[in-house]
């Protein structure tokens, strides 16, 4: 029984070999379509995972102050008030801001670090300790061509040119987070931006029970009406929406490609040539069953679609994870001028792969089997004569 099926498979592969050009064309187009779709899926999935991983270390709640509907500096004494609410752990005032370098035409993020800085992973060298020191992300070091021990020139808010000694560098693994980051000591950053000493950019609030974040956000908003508390889940949600939206746009663009492929597949697969019809007729005449013919066509369809699917997915995998999604990055990355060159960690959703497989393999097999079934059930004699 099984050897009979294998014989049919063998015959299917041999007969496909006889129509090399046609099958090769289908496989090429098919592979390209699968590769494009799978690339989009892989890329969005890993960006989403990456964002999620990044946000694991993000503060549970960020409290900003709003003035006239816009972000404003928050008074430090707000931190004490928030710290007294039950369920709140540490409240840390953060100092940070943006810096535009007109020479390189890029935006940086400048951040102040307090005396009790945390242990930083993915970091070489030391964190800045004096006003004349700084630590850099990889992207900035590359943009200026500087290394550990060199100096970085920045122009402060009073238009004075200042030299900072580079004491630390972030590794490129943390690029998504630190690519455009410059760390200065907190007092120096306040002086640099001319910020008042009793105010911070925002407050990072630690909440022990994740269930309580929404309640605390409501309470903070009630007690300090000029603030805007932003929960970690909200940030996550925003990222998700952004990535969904972007991948959605790409998918709409590529839907046309998918439809074009469908038309081609339909045309190539359904348009049974006279030669193929005759072949079916002969097979029936020498004693093949209709089921055998259908089995033959099924194997043919499966061989084409499965190999294209596997090939396409592999190409997509290589494209995203080994060549850094070079084709898709301009579309999916956003707003920043200094792009992080990041290596994505493979994150594959089996469910998505499965859906993609079902959407591409099944219709193709249907396209090949149904028309052959039509000619297989007609009388072999009339098929051969026509």
């Amino acid at each position: 029984m099984i050897s009979g099926k294998l014989k049919i498979l063998e015959h299917a592969l041999l007969s496909m070999g006889r129509r090399k050009q046609k099958n090769f064309a289908i496989i090429a187009v098919y592979t390209l379509t699968v590769a494009t779709l799978a690339s989009i899926l892989f890329l969005t999935q890993s960006l989403r995972t990456e964002a999620r991983n990044v946000l694991l270390d993000a503060p549970d709640l960020v409290v900003q102050r709003l003035a006239a509907g816009r972000h404003d500096l928050i008074p430090n004494h707000y931190a004490e008030k928030i710290g007294q609410l039950p369920g709140v752990g540490n409240v840390t005032p953060r100092i940070w801001g943006y810096y535009y370098d007109s020479l390189k035409k890029v935006n940086f993020t400048l951040m102040g670090i307090g005396p009790k800085e945390r242990d930083l992973q993915l970091f070489s060298g030391e964190l800045p300790k004096t006003a004349k020191q700084c630590a850099l992300g990889n992207g900035i070091a590359k943009a200026y061509g500087v290394e550990l021990g060199d100096s970085l020139v920045l122009v402060d808010s009073q238009n004075r040119t200042l030299l900072y000694e580079i004491t630390g560098l972030f590794d490129h693994q943390s690029n998504l987070l630190t690519n455009d980051l410059i760390l200065l000591t907190e007092p120096e950053l306040r002086r640099f931006f001319n910020l008042p000493a009793d105010r911070a950019t925002d407050l990072a609030v630690q909440v022990y029970n994740q269930r309580e974040i929404a309640t605390l956000a409501k309470k903070i908003k009630y007690e300090l009406p000029d603030t805007r508390p932003v929960g970690k889940t909200e940030i996550l949600h925003t990222y998700d929406t952004v990535f969904n939206w972007r991948s959605g746009i790409m998918l709409t663009v590529f839907v046309s490609a998918l439809i074009a492929f469908c038309i081609l597949a339909w045309d190539k697969a359904t348009g049974i040539s006279a030669e193929e019809k005759r072949e079916i007729g002969i097979l029936k005449a020498i004693g093949w069953d209709t089921t055998d013919v259908l089995m033959l066509k099924f194997w043919e369809g499966l061989a084409v679609s499965l190999s294209s699917f596997l090939l396409g997915s592999s190409i997509a995998y290589l494209h995203i994870y080994f060549y850094g999604a070079s084709v898709l990055t301009p579309v999916i990355q956003g707003w920043s001028v200094l792009f992080p060159e990041f290596q994505l960690t493979p994150a594959i959703d089996l469910y998505q792969i499965f859906v993609l497989a079902i959407l591409t393999i099944v219709p193709y097999i249907a396209c090949t089997v149904i028309p052959s079934w039509k000619s297989a059930i007609t009388d072999p004699d009339s098929v051969m004569r026509s």
């Binding site: 039950p86 369920g87 022990y208 029970n209 994740q210 269930r211 309580e212 309640t215 309470k219």
Partner: protein
């Protein structure tokens, strides 16, 4: 020789004291709640535990299941009586730390649900308990001594 002995004793004490005095052991992945049969480890904010005098320990996924078990002792699977219980720990809602049951207030009828539905929410400190009751529509604040089997939520 003597100093070595002292060092050994010191090491022994250092190793023994944190587990004995301050916090009970945390559940591992295989620990199940003896009342509902669910794995306990995925709900770190709800863990409740009974430490028996002989050192054995049971984990529950919420104060409700723990108290159900407590009032059912001795039951058909466990012949131990309530007198063999050394200490009961509940997870404080606000700090998510395990605290002895005497140190927390229990809030009934709130809108916060645990893994097993309605819960008695353990909150440390009277002020915090009142805040919780206000924020989450808690109907009653009681202590462990005031708890009776009838007060335990049914579902």
């Amino acid at each position: 020789m003597r100093s070595l002995c002292l060092i050994l004793i010191a090491i022994f004490l250092a190793a023994a004291s944190p587990s004995g005095a301050t916090e009970p052991a945390r559940p591992d992945k295989k620990d199940r709640c003896p009342v509902c049969g669910m794995f306990v480890a995925p709900y770190p904010d709800w863990i409740a535990t009974i430490v028996f005098k002989d050192g054995s320990q049971l984990f529950f996924d919420g104060a409700k299941d723990l108290f159900r078990y407590y009032y059912s002792l001795p039951n058909e699977n466990d012949t131990r009586t309530r007198d063999t219980i050394g200490k009961i720990y509940l997870t404080d809602y606000y700090s998510t730390r395990l605290l002895p049951v005497e140190q927390v207030f229990l809030i009934l009828g709130s809108d916060v649900y645990g893994p097993m539905g309605h819960e008695l929410i353990p909150v440390a400190g009277e002020e915090a308990a009142k805040t919780f009751a206000k924020d989450h529509k808690g109907q009653k604040i009681i202590t462990f001594e005031q708890l009776t089997p009838q007060l335990i939520p049914v579902d």
